[in-house]
């Protein structure tokens, strides 16, 4: 293993983080030099028994000095805060149409699902110069996908989606690992991040054994689980039509409203009672235990595809992950 798998600046964002790090290192270095320099000078001059005349210490001045360095410290700290916060804020919003890769973490392995349907374990292939968004969830405890070369880290929680996104600029093989303590084999829950040129990535995807993309796999599940029995326009059962629902606001039976994003669709399968759409009977079965996180991802991808086919703009309204 090589240290460059960790500390390479593999994206523009990583470079920005490093710049901030250098800035703070310089400021900190100066403060340490100042304080230790002063201590050494005072020792050299005023050690007990030195002949240095001590003279008066004007007490009146001390107030001005105190206010002086309080204000100076405050402003330099605010300056660093402003710099850091602007970095943070510009990195917040994931770009639209990012390539979305689903991540499922569990004790102690990683599973990645590409939109093309390709799956991999403990290895993540991504194209360079492309916005990539990772939608992550955990099947058990809290994990954390740490991508050192991209200076990214995000906890992954059970029953919830968290996101991180990047646009890598360097190709190569880098390290990724779990950063939130998750039990016995926490320290070997790691893998390789392979950043490839977009062309290589396309070739790699094409070479993957599973031909169907996520949405098609989802459709197959949708049929085999019997969802289609109710959720089709012509069905005799009174259930919401899923065409175009993704990204739109839905009114729930308890009077609240939610936007139909990934988290909502997921809740519909696992918590049907609290996500029931107004005007529909409570007949949706609870799929907890019947589908795993990977299958939920496929089903959601299918329902999303029902919207993008007919209403290309729908996804723009999705707040999922956006800040």
């Amino acid at each position: 293993m090589n240290i460059s798998q960790f500390n390479t600046e593999a994206s523009d964002y990583a470079t920005k983080v490093d710049h901030l790090f250098y800035l703070e290192s310089i400021i900190s270095g100066l403060v340490v030099l100042l304080v230790s320099g002063l201590i050494i000078v005072f020792f050299a001059l005023y050690y007990r028994g030195s002949r240095m005349p001590r003279g008066e210490v004007p007490e009146r001045k001390s107030r001005e000095i105190e206010i002086g360095w309080t204000v100076a410290t405050l402003f330099s700290f605010l300056f660093i805060f402003w710099w850091a916060a602007s970095d943070q804020l510009t990195a917040l919003a994931p770009p639209k149409d990012a390539l979305e890769i689903h991540v499922v973490a569990k004790q102690w392995m990683w599973r990645f699902q590409h939109p093309s349907g390709a799956r991999e374990i403990d290895e993540l292939h991504v194209p360079a110069h492309t916005d990539v968004r990772l939608a992550m969830t955990s099947q058990d405890v809290i994990h954390d996908l740490y991508l050192p070369a991209l200076r990214l880290k995000q906890d992954i929680l059970p029953d919830r989606y968290t996101y991180e996104w990047f646009n890598a600029t360097k190709t190569g093989i880098f390290h990724f690992t779990c950063a939130e303590f998750c039990g016995t084999d926490h320290s070997i829950m790691a893998g390789s991040l392979v950043i490839m040129t977009p062309e290589d990535y396309a070739r790699w995807t094409a070479a993957q054994p599973e031909g169907d993309d996520l949405a098609h796999q989802g459709k197959a599940l949708f049929l085999s689980l019997g969802c289609s029995g109710c959720h089709t326009p012509g069905s005799s059962v009174h259930a919401p039509d899923l065409n175009g629902v993704y990204g739109h606001v839905v009114h729930l039976s308890d009077g609240s409203t939610r936007t139909a994003d990934e988290a909502y669709l997921r809740d519909c399968m696992l918590l049907p009672d609290s996500t029931r759409v107004a005007g529909f009977p409570p007949i949706m079965p609870n799929f907890t235990g019947a589908v795993d996180e990977g299958q939920i991802v496929e089903l959601v991808a299918y329902i999303k595809s029902l919207s993008t086919d007919q209403d290309a703009g729908a996804q723009d309204q999705s707040p999922g992950g956006q800040q």
Binding site: D254, S256, L271, D273, S274
Partner: protein, 210 residues
């Protein structure tokens, strides 16, 4: 000014300061307790914000009769406790003893009521777990808080009853004089436990009524 001799303890110079000190110490401890219960209320508030309907459904299943009786019992016990403290300050020894006994009895009645209520709840399997009768799942969250909140409150109250009984015995046997600083601390603590219940009552019993 008859029996103060045994009341003064190290390191206090006089009884007035000692009483003030005990009062202050108890109030500081209560500030700590406020945060203890405050964090519990904060959890309840967060979860209720996101599960309004589930909390309403779950709240409809608490035993409002027991809850209401208990509220009145505790309010009354606070009254008797106040009188006990004032009587102690005024050196009315018998009144102090009567009121302390009444307070302990009201407290015990509360615990008894609470026990009956728990029994009733358990009969309906209202304990989060496999056989929990309500849905959606967040109703279990409400009941989780119900058990923890009432449980911790009951522990506090039981502790209070024990302390009141001990103080009662010590007064009765004239081990310590009533006008010492002891009553100060006991009374403040008792009122605090009562106040906590006044928050629990609307959160747990009135939440799902209409």
């Amino acid at each position: 000014m008859t029996e103060t001799a045994g009341a003064l303890r190290e390191p206090w110079p006089d009884l007035r300061l000692q009483r003030e000190g005990v009062g202050l110490g108890m109030w500081i401890f209560l500030a700590s307790e406020v945060l203890f219960f405050g964090s519990l209320f904060c959890g309840y508030a967060v979860y209720r914000t996101f599960n309004v309907e589930a909390f309403r459904i779950a709240g409809a299943h608490t035993e409002i009769v027991y809850g209401s009786i208990n509220t009145v019992l505790l309010l009354t016990s606070s009254l008797t406790m106040t009188i006990a403290l004032r009587a102690a300050t005024a050196e009315l020894r018998n009144l102090t003893l009567y009121c302390l006994a009444a307070t302990a009895a009201l407290g015990a009645a509360f615990v008894l009521c609470k026990g009956l209520e728990y029994h009733e709840d358990l009969k309906q399997h209202l304990f989060p777990g496999l056989h929990f009768p309500l849905s959606p799942p967040a109703t279990q969250m409400f009941w989780g808080f119900y058990w923890i909140m009432t449980g911790i409150h009951a522990v506090h109250l039981t502790g209070g009853i024990v302390v009141v009984l001990v103080v009662f015995t010590l007064f009765k046997r004239r081990v310590i004089p009533v006008q010492g600083s002891t009553m100060e601390g006991v009374a403040i603590y008792w009122h605090f436990v009562d106040s906590v219940w006044l928050v629990l009552y609307p959160l747990l019993y009135l939440a799902g009524r209409p």
